[in-house]
Assembly symmetry: C3
Homo-oligomer: 353 residues x 3
Amino acid sequence: MAFTYSTQRILQIVGESAECVGAYEGDIVGISSLKEASSGDLSFLGNPKYRAEVEPSQASVLLLPLDYEGTPKTGQLFIKLENPSFALALICRDIEGTLLPKPVPGIHPSAVVHPEAVVSPLASVGPLCVVGQGAKIGAAVLESHVSVGRYARIADDAYLFPRVVVADYCEIGQRNRIAAGAVIGSDGYGYEFHEGAHQRVPQIGKVILEDDVDVGANSSLDRARFGSTIIGAGTKIDNQVQIAHNVRVGKHCLIVAQVGISGSTVLGDGVIVAGQAGVAGHLEIGSGAMIAGGTAITASVEPQAKMRGFPALPMMQFNRISILQRKLPDLFKRFDQLEKTVESLGSSEVISE
Amino acid sequence: MAFTYSTQRILQIVGESAECVGAYEGDIVGISSLKEASSGDLSFLGNPKYRAEVEPSQASVLLLPLDYEGTPKTGQLFIKLENPSFALALICRDIEGTLLPKPVPGIHPSAVVHPEAVVSPLASVGPLCVVGQGAKIGAAVLESHVSVGRYARIADDAYLFPRVVVADYCEIGQRNRIAAGAVIGSDGYGYEFHEGAHQRVPQIGKVILEDDVDVGANSSLDRARFGSTIIGAGTKIDNQVQIAHNVRVGKHCLIVAQVGISGSTVLGDGVIVAGQAGVAGHLEIGSGAMIAGGTAITASVEPQAKMRGFPALPMMQFNRISILQRKLPDLFKRFDQLEKTVESLGSSEVISE
Amino acid sequence: MAFTYSTQRILQIVGESAECVGAYEGDIVGISSLKEASSGDLSFLGNPKYRAEVEPSQASVLLLPLDYEGTPKTGQLFIKLENPSFALALICRDIEGTLLPKPVPGIHPSAVVHPEAVVSPLASVGPLCVVGQGAKIGAAVLESHVSVGRYARIADDAYLFPRVVVADYCEIGQRNRIAAGAVIGSDGYGYEFHEGAHQRVPQIGKVILEDDVDVGANSSLDRARFGSTIIGAGTKIDNQVQIAHNVRVGKHCLIVAQVGISGSTVLGDGVIVAGQAGVAGHLEIGSGAMIAGGTAITASVEPQAKMRGFPALPMMQFNRISILQRKLPDLFKRFDQLEKTVESLGSSEVISE
């Protein structure tokens, strides 16, 4: 993944407000953390706790906050600006365009596109993709082995990585990024026990992803029993997340890897659900709530609340109880001792009577 | 996902025993919950706790229990019957047949079928499927990108969604539904540490799914070390479930999303394992046992037992202890106080001697 | 999955040092546990706790430890050797070669290989695979529907099962086995909140799997933000494991099903992470550490430490506290009693003054 990159290009991207100290004449050939950088690398100070690592860093070009006071070594360039971390993201986006260029428009001859599908001339439909009857593909990218079901819709600038499945009738919004192996629109898990067996409840709804949604690798989002499972605009879903039927997720939520959200639960806007947490069905999670990793939510959560534990408690309460639990062995000992003391007091009491 | 549906058709499906009150002349154009329904929608009262939502509902046709006593608005039809929820499922099954029709039989020209495979003339083998040497496909549906390994068997009326993998020698029963991305027959996870490295233990067994089994999206079921990993008839497995090698699951079990079951564990019939629970290896889970979401089972479980927690306890015990844990901060305070009281009693004792 | 296998072949494989007692004239037609074996089966005593099952076993050939003292029935052969379990693995490997033969070299005509890809003449590229521009495939096996991205590398003797995705620039080491549905090189999950929305941080790094790594079905390993996500030689990863960007896993680790490891965390060598455990980001897990199933690691772990719980504690401490938690109902009762006793003592004290 080798690339070369000029200092001039970096300055163009980060803008004129940046303050340069020192100079580096060569090209940038890598990006690395302060500690691991070697000559030719670009590095950055994103988190103040690593400030002490700037001075010994071997990086040739460093993105630093405006208030950084050190001076560069010979042949080293400091670029001081407001948000080094965001500046780096802008630079990486530019490099990404070179390293991972977007495929050109066109339908690969090995793709199987139904004659009744509508594909934008600006769409790139990669090798061995399948596009079903009545599906509508905008100016999007479908990498290899993508399967788009009947009457599904893929909006402009969506990017579907290899072997994404978008099932019948489901809708992918603008600028969505759907990672490899994700399944949008699997059947919801619904059964009625009838005549000695679990009878499948048909799932005739769909999934709607609004604009700017990301879905991670091997995640699965179930179609609604009827109506729609909906993911709000700007929400980012990590890998191996399970979203059940009829769930509604608000806007700008973060749902981290391996989270599971059960049927018909509603998340407000800006909710953060950390890795491996689980949320039971038919609940409401208020806007701005934060759910810690591994937490099991079995009751609705107030807006802005921070929850943790199994079963979940307000985070402060959980943390306090966790500390006390570690003192249980001591408490039990003290209790046994106290019982004995009280017993002997009781006996002496009897004697003194 | 628009559809129109006549009231007559509904009455045909739910049967003659239904009792009609009121009348609706138009077509049904949607299905919705009582609260969200608008004119033209079908709705239902499945759970008595929503009874109060019937009266204000804007739905045009409502499926209601026989004992519901209210009266419809003008232009509204009440259909009263024994099990509104099951009646709705029957209607949805009918609609499903229209919205998501089963593909017609035939092998898509882009599919790669080994000359020594045996495919029923009633099978539908979709675009870009691969069927291996000696595999046998009954009157089943394989949507796109399905991979069927060597000598695998797919029974009649099975439905395999896009990019299901059925590995060599594995067997899919009648009427199985295997969701997108599921892997049936991946290697079991078995190693022997030998000469400084983990040596792979070959996994030469297979997976057998009996009849009427469902498997969810991106689930994985490992082939046995030798012999078979077996899923009993009528068992329903949700998304992202992991079943390890040599596991045997009984009949009519429910295994909810993101559950993991470790090697050689045996589940009886009718076991329910809720989301994100984990079961260790070489255990027996008795018939009818219920395991709550997120629970970690590390010892065998009696039939009909209800377990919860990490590590798991009988559910009642777990719930009681959870409540007491919340009282720990108070207990510690009271204990400190009591210790002081006893100390002062002890001192006064000394004084009074 | 029928096979026949001669006793002679077994003796050739397990070697001359084996000690034979008794004789079996027929062929081996199955492998089974001691308890379930019937005539014609091979079985073995791997775990001493099953010793009592040897005598009643109906197996025709049994692999037993050198110190086993019983005698075979008529027509039964005991083969005594140092490590029966490992001997069985060697036999199974031989059978595997017959049952699951490696595909022959060659590129299937339905595969789509970019003209600028370099594919070894010894490689087997299966039906409907896609190999991208600049990719380099050694003497490896790619089963069906595998997607290899641009400039990715697959080393000799790697085995990629159906629909594995190896994304652009990622590197698969020698003798790697990558199970069906695994995704190597999905985007890392990184966002900066900026102007009211989560802005994607481009992920321009890659994933490197060193030699002898296994990855399970539907697992996902994210590419680095920059630099590499690295899995050390000999490490075995089970199904549905999530490895985030910039994680570094040491050599010979075992990472069991449904584990999640968050960004930038570093695991030493020989670490064992049991099923469904989660490890937070930016931590160090020392070599030889063991993390129990379902555990939530939120702080770095010392080498050789054994951790368990949510949040994690040293395993002995966790187990002790778990036992005490079960005594909480009793403790609360005893405490209430003691409080009353002390109160009455206090009253009598007052009276006696």
